[in-house]
């Protein structure tokens, strides 16, 4: 029984290592959002179907923030999103790309916000999405949540 448990624990640790960076970041949900406990990404959702996710990914191939800023903006535009805002904001003295994108999905129009930060070999991505009007009403709460994320030391 002890060996089985140990193997499971080892497996979980391996999975966490393989998944990149697990929870090497801090995040809080926007006000009024319920937090999902499961998964390596930080996830939260609101009653009016807004979703919020923070995840960490490997900086592979390695590049500086300025490169990923251009690459991510271009990729989203090429993918068919309308970029209505692409600005660089400061979070704890670090540059972060803040993208506001719009796209039709099914019968609704969606607003999709992305925040991207780079630190060494890690890239932190925060995303929020929902129907445009509802997202617009909650814009300040989402920006506040974005500004609270950061890399763990």
């Amino acid at each position: 029984m002890f060996f089985v448990r140990s193997k499971i624990i080892l497996l979980l640790i391996s999975l966490l290592i393989l998944s990149g960076c697990g929870r090497q970041f801090t995040a809080v949900a926007p006000e009024g959002f319920a937090v999902y406990r499961a998964g390596s990404a930080f996830r939260a959702a609101s009653h009016d179907r807004l979703v919020y996710r923070v995840k960490c990914t490997e900086n592979i191939p390695y590049a500086e923030f300025s490169f990923w800023k251009e690459a991510l903006t271009k990729r989203m535009s090429d993918a068919g999103y309308r970029v209505i805002n692409d600005s660089v904001i400061q979070i704890n003295d670090k540059d972060a790309l803040f993208l506001e994108l719009v796209a039709p999905l099914g019968d609704s129009d969606y607003l999709y916000n992305i925040l991207m930060m780079v630190e060494g070999k890690k890239i932190l991505l925060a995303e929020a999405a929902g129907e445009v009007e509802i997202m617009h009403k909650n814009r300040e709460k989402i920006i506040k949540a974005f500004k609270s994320i950061g890399f763990k030391n």
Partner: protein, 199 residues
């Protein structure tokens, strides 16, 4: 609408005949996608603003409003629309009609010149020639009036912009889910996967 003044010399047979001031003529089209919590209220407000500023409604459906607006009020109008919600798409363009306009002016001048010649002939013609000449004069005058009417109509149309305000994207093409970026992690950033993660 008239913005740029050009000075043109209309030439006939290589000889400069008349120096006229010609304007650049173009038609303004604008459309935007306005996302707002209350479409009916926004539509009513837009109609009101248009009417108060010399514009008028062409078409109103739940998803679209089509208006004519005086061009000089367009900037203020679009700013007002901006403040009514979130603008997710905006297109502003102009269609140049200067060549068409110049063509009408040239036709008017040619006919006017011919008419003057006919009138001179009419003065000197005897009783036998008066009937065919006066018929030609009447035909030319009718043609001139038609040309002047179409020129005035054209200039009048240019004073008003065609504005379409959509309340949802009219182009419903969805963004691609994955993409073909060489950088793998970029392909994973998309709305579909985010929403899927919560299902």
């Amino acid at each position: 609408m008239i913005f740029i003044i050009l000075v043109l010399i209309i030439c006939s047979g290589g000889k400069a005949e008349e120096k006229i001031e010609v304007t650049s003529v173009y038609h303004v089209n604008a459309h935007c996608v306005l996302k707002t919590g209350n479409r009916e209220c926004a539509a009513e407000k837009i109609n009101q603003i248009a009417e108060n500023n010399g514009g008028w409604l062409i078409l109103q459906k739940p998803d679209i409003i089509n208006l004519r607006m005086p061009v000089e009020f367009m900037n203020d109008f679009l700013e007002t629309i901006d403040s009514m919600g979130i603008i997710t798409d905006k297109v502003y363009n102009r269609t140049d009609h200067t060549a068409q306009y110049l063509n009408i002016i040239a036709q008017i001048q040619a006919r006017q010149s011919l008419l003057n010649q006919y009138l001179a002939v009419l003065d000197s013609s005897g009783t036998e020639g008066i009937y065919p000449v006066s018929r030609s004069v009447a035909d030319l005058q009718q043609g001139l009036e038609e040309l002047e009417g179409s020129m005035k109509g054209m200039l009048e149309r240019m004073k008003y912009a065609n504005v379409k305000i959509y309340f949802r994207f009219f182009d419903r093409r969805q963004p691609v889910a994955t993409g073909k970026s060489n950088f793998e992690w970029l392909n994973s950033v998309n709305l579909h996967s985010l929403l899927e993660d919560f299902r």
